[in-house]
Every structure is written in structure tokens, then in C-alpha cells.
């Protein structure tokens, strides 16, 4: 159990980040670079943090003992966070998704920044300090895996099936060539809004659980930095199959731990081990620059599986 108490936090974080990767991937299925995920993630977290500290109080008042917060409340918050994100995404989606390419990315950056400034200033979000003491349904951080893992599997399955369904095909057609897709009867706006909303719902739900997991929630949770991290998951992991962002989220979240382990090796020059400890974002940044040169579609591509499948077939024949 020692492993789980040491790495429990990391493992669950990896699952969360993989889902955030998926939440950016879904709009990207229609060819839209949306950096809005952290905005909805922040929103979901605030909903959970506010509800669990003001509405879902124990009978007779007071505070929840650690580990006693009912999971059913977490689930209710998660659903509400998903719904709220869906509504907000619809609201901003219809007007802004007429925008192509770069303009949409800019609009979503603006959205994330506006959410951040609002949460820094509003009473209900605890201003700059944020919301402390979000009650815990579990004593061990690793136990959050019972919430995070099913949600990751469900969302991965959702996207896997989506890619093979009528709607998913329309998404891909839009990514390949929006005008041609429209000329073939695919409504660009409704499909793009749908993808945007689905991604928002996932990000909002992840935020709700994360608020409990992190125990506290503040304006630093949903920032432009997070946008870039999540983007890195997709670019490095792969942008053409749902496995890409999942792998990217898992790997890049584990990377600092790996670097820490390497930094601990005896005999490294001080500056190098310092770099490995503090240089996580430098390495992320450089990976984002270099990866597209060697892996234009990310580490995992759909062709990877096809080639594999062909090889197995040949081997069998």
C-alpha cells in the first residue's frame, strides 16, 4: 500500500489530466482549436466547492469529518457541473463557432481569461483566496480513483463510439473540409456547437471532482497555462485518435515525477538536477515545438493501428 500512498495523488491526477485532454480533443474532432477547457474546468470546480461548503452540509451544521462527505453529493455536483458547463457552452458556442481557426482559439482564450478575472473578483468564488476546505469523501487521495477511473473509461468509450457513429463522422468531415462537408449536408454550426458542448461537459465534470480532490479551489485552477498544458497532451499524444490525448495526459502528468527520479541520480551536476526538478515547463514547451516535426499527428495515430492490423493479417496468412 506504500506505493499507493506515495503515488496515489499522482495516479489520480494523471486520470484527471487525461480527461482534460479528451475535453480538448472532442472539439478538435470537428477541426476547432478550442482552448476553453480550463474555463469549464474552473466553473465545474467552483460549483462543487460552493455547493459542498454551503449547501451540502452535515445534519446539525458544522463541518464534514474527513472521509465522510457522501459520494452521492459529489455525483450530484458532477452532474450539475456538467449541466452548467453545457448551458454556458451553448450560450457562447453558437455565436463564437461561426469563427474559423485562429479566431475561435482567440475567443476561447478570452473566455478563460474572463472566467479567471471574474473568479478573482466575485464574493461567491472567494476572490483571490478561493474556496478552502472542500470536504473529502475519501481519506486517501488514491481512493478518488473510484470516481476518476470510471469517468475516464466512460468518456473514452463515449469518444471511441462517437468516432464510429453518424455524428462523429460528420465531425471528422468538418475537420477534413468544412465547405465540402456543408455541401454534403452536414450542418457546420450545430455539429461544431455539439462538439464544443460535449468537451465543455467533460471539463466541467472533471473540475467538480478535482475540487474535492485538491481540497481547495481558486482562480489559478483555470488559466491560460492550463490551456497550454492540455493542448500539449493532445499535440504530443496525438490529435487524430482519442487515445492520443489520453496517453498525452497520462504521460505528461507523470513526467515531472520521472524527472524527479532522474534528478535524484547520484553524481549529476547540480544545475542539471535543478533543471530536471524545476524545468518541467521548459521541457513541455520544447516538446510542443519539437514533437510536431517528428510526429506531425502526435505519438499515436490511427494508422499506427491499421499498420499493426495489416501486419498481423500478413503474419496469419
Amino acid at each position: 500500500m506504500d506505493f499507493f500512498s506515495t503515488y496515489g495523488f499522482l495516479i489520480v491526477s494523471m486520470l484527471f489530466q487525461a480527461m482534460l485532454g479528451l475535453s480538448l480533443y472532442i472539439p478538435l474532432m470537428t477541426g476547432q482549436l478550442s482552448l476553453a477547457s480550463p474555463g469549464f474546468y474552473a466553473l465545474g470546480g467552483y460549483i462543487a466547492a460552493i455547493l459542498s461548503t454551503t449547501v451540502f452540509l452535515p445534519e446539525g451544521g458544522g463541518k464534514w469529518e474527513s472521509g465522510t462527505f457522501p459520494i452521492i453529493y459529489v455525483l450530484i455536483e458532477t452532474v450539475l457541473a456538467g449541466l452548467a458547463s453545457a448551458l454556458l457552452a451553448l450560450l457562447i458556442g453558437f455565436p463564437s463557432l461561426r469563427l474559423r481557426g485562429i479566431y475561435l482559439a482567440l475567443a476561447t482564450i478570452a473566455f478563460v481569461e474572463i472566467v479567471r478575472v471574474l473568479s478573482l473578483n466575485l464574493e461567491i468564488t472567494g476572490k483571490a483566496i478561493g474556496i478552502f476546505g472542500v470536504p473529502q469523501p475519501f481519506i486517501n487521495k488514491f481512493d478518488y480513483v473510484v470516481l476518476a477511473l470510471p469517468l475516464l473509461i466512460a468518456s473514452a468509450w463515449f469518444v471511441y463510439r462517437l468516432e464510429r457513429s453518424r455524428v462523429g463522422r460528420a465531425f471528422t468531415a468538418l475537420r477534413e473540409d468544412e465547405l465540402a462537408a456543408a455541401a454534403m449536408g452536414v450542418n457546420p454550426t450545430t455539429n461544431k456547437v455539439l462538439a464544443f458542448v460535449l468537451g465543455a461537459v467533460l471539463a466541467g465534470m472533471v473540475g467538480a471532482i478535482s475540487a474535492h480532490f485538491l481540497n481547495t479551489w481558486n482562480a489559478r485552477q483555470g488559466t491560460f497555462d492550463v490551456s497550454i498544458l492540455v493542448l500539449a497532451y493532445v499535440i504530443i499524444g496525438g490529435s487524430r485518435t482519442f487515445l492520443g490525448p489520453i496517453l498525452g495526459g497520462l504521460l505528461l502528468t507523470a513526467l515531472p515525477e520521472v524527472l524527479r527520479a532522474i534528478a535524484g541520480i547520484q553524481g549529476l551536476p547540480l544545475f542539471l538536477s535543478q533543471f530536471l526538478l524545476d524545468g518541467r515547463l521548459i521541457i513541455y514547451g520544447l516538446l510542443i515545438v519539437v514533437a510536431p516535426l517528428f510526429y506531425p499527428q502526435g505519438l499515436i495515430t490511427p494508422d499506427l493501428f491499421k499498420r499493426r492490423a495489416v501486419k498481423t493479417k500478413e503474419a496469419g496468412a
Binding site: 463515449f158 463510439r161 462517437l162 457513429s165 453518424r166 455524428v167 462523429g168 463522422r169 460528420a170 471528422t172 468531415a173 477534413e176 473540409d177 465547405l179 465540402a180 462537408a181 456543408a182 455541401a183 454534403m184 449536408g185 452536414v186 450542418n187 457546420p188 455539439l194 460535449l198 487524430r240
Partner: protein, 252 residues
């Protein structure tokens, strides 16, 4: 009533008038040729009909209804399908998937039905698949249904575009230079295919084509555009001997 009619359709780009009050009508079941020198406004005319470019002025009537102001996907759903001069397939999708996409308006499985695989959605998916394969066989691509569209030869891509357009179950089919890049033999096969689909699917076809023998042999009537203006309209033989047409083609 004509199935399609253009009444004074005009499109300006800045100072350039790409289509200049062009009026013509196409009858049900016709194969209607649209010819003219490069830059005459033929493709712009197609873009106006399919709403990829809005007309500056004029009316476009499909089955008696003005379609100006509609969105491209609405035009497609009404029954107007097209191919593109500079092929616009979904390159990373297989041929089969390309054709499936175009059945979008005739299918209804929503996102959740598709993901959960409800009986209705599965039945629909089977129908879509069967129809897509049938259309691919029709254009002679039945064997390479699972190949990515971008890996196809030029001629095969053009035929795949036709299969994709047919999947929309259109009433009016717009073919933009379907024979471009094909050799004479392939062009002959293409002619037969166009006639065959017209009869089989009860289509009306408007065709842009440079290759004069193909147009003359295939079309019931021909409209000639030059610098955005309609300069001749009639049966192939009449148009061919029209001095204005000869002038447009040989004048420069």
C-alpha cells in the same frame, strides 16, 4: 415548371463581375452543359447554386422555390449535390466513410443513440453501409472501399466524388469538370456512367466540362458563359455553330 432556374444571378468580387445577370432554366431529366473559357464564371455559378458564395443579386429557383439565402447544408438537404473542380474529398477518411458522410441528411441517429448503439441506430448504420458500398460499386470503386481517399488516383477521386454526391440522393446533380485529368478511354466510361446515373436515379445534371467532344456527345442542351455573361444557349449543334461562341473560344 423547370426543376432549376437562374433569374439574373449576379456575383461581384470587388470590381470584377464573375457572374453577370445570368438567366437560364434546366428541365427535369436534362443533362445540361455549362461551358466557357477559363474564368468565365462557371464554377462561381455552381458556388452560387450551392450557396458556398451568396449572389450579389438575382434569384435562384429550385423546384419553383427561391433558394437564395439558404445555407449550404440546407441546399444539400433540399436535393442539390455537387462535385468540386479541385477535388474536395475528406482525404483522411476511407472511400466508404466519404460516401457515408453524405448520407447525413437522410439519417437521424443522434449522438447518444449512435454511442449507445440502439437497435434503431444499428439498423440505420447497416443501411448506410450497404448503400455506401452499392454506390462505390456503381462508380467502379467497390474493391477499394476501405482505402483512404487521399491515396486514390486522380480519376478515381473524381469518381469517388460522384459516388459521394449521389449518396445525398439528389434531384439535381452538379458536376464540376468530372472528366478533368482522365484519358479518352476513361472519359468514354465516364460519359456512360453519367447517363446511367441520370436514368437510374431520375436525376437532372448540370455539367461543367472543358472537353468539347464529351460535352457535345453527352448534353441535351448547353449554356455558354464568357466573362460572366451568358452568350449562347441551345442544343449542342446550335451552340457549336454560334458565331459568338466561336469568337469567345478563338477570339483570344
Amino acid at each position: 415548371m423547370s426543376i432549376f432556374e437562374s433569374r439574373g444571378a449576379t456575383r461581384r468580387f470587388g470590381g470584377l463581375v464573375a457572374v453577370d445577370s445570368v438567366s437560364f432554366a434546366v428541365e427535369q431529366g436534362e443533362i445540361f452543359g455549362l461551358i466557357g473559357p477559363n474564368g468565365a464564371g462557371k464554377t462561381t455559378m455552381f458556388n452560387l447554386i450551392t450557396a458556398l458564395t451568396p449572389p450579389t443579386s438575382g434569384q435562384l429557383l429550385f423546384q419553383g422555390q427561391n433558394i437564395v439565402g439558404k445555407q449550404p447544408h440546407q441546399i444539400a438537404a433540399m436535393g442539390i449535390a455537387r462535385t468540386f473542380q479541385n477535388i474536395r474529398l475528406f482525404g483522411n477518411l476511407s472511400a466508404l466513410e466519404n460516401v457515408k458522410v453524405a448520407q447525413h441528411t437522410h439519417t437521424h441517429a443522434n449522438v447518444f443513440a449512435g454511442i449507445l448503439g440502439t437497435p434503431g441506430a444499428r439498423e440505420e448504420a447497416r443501411r448506410v453501409e450497404a448503400k455506401a458500398r452499392e454506390l462505390l460499386r456503381l462508380v467502379g470503386l467497390g474493391e477499394s472501399a476501405d482505402e483512404k481517399a487521399k491515396n486514390f488516383s486522380y480519376g478515381d477521386q473524381r469518381r469517388l466524388e460522384i459516388a459521394r454526391a449521389l449518396a445525398l440522393e439528389p434531384k439535381l446533380l452538379l458536376l464540376d469538370e468530372p472528366g478533368a485529368g482522365m484519358n479518352p478511354n476513361e472519359k468514354g466510361i465516364l460519359s456512360d456512367l453519367i447517363r446511367q446515373i441520370r436514368d437510374q436515379f431520375n436525376l437532372t445534371i448540370i455539367l461543367i466540362e472543358h472537353h468539347v467532344p464529351l460535352v457535345m456527345g453527352l448534353c441535351d442542351r448547353i449554356a455558354v458563359l464568357n466573362f460572366g455573361q451568358l452568350i449562347a444557349l441551345g442544343k449542342p449543334a446550335e451552340v457549336q455553330s454560334d458565331p459568338a461562341v466561336i469568337d469567345a473560344y478563338l477570339g483570344d
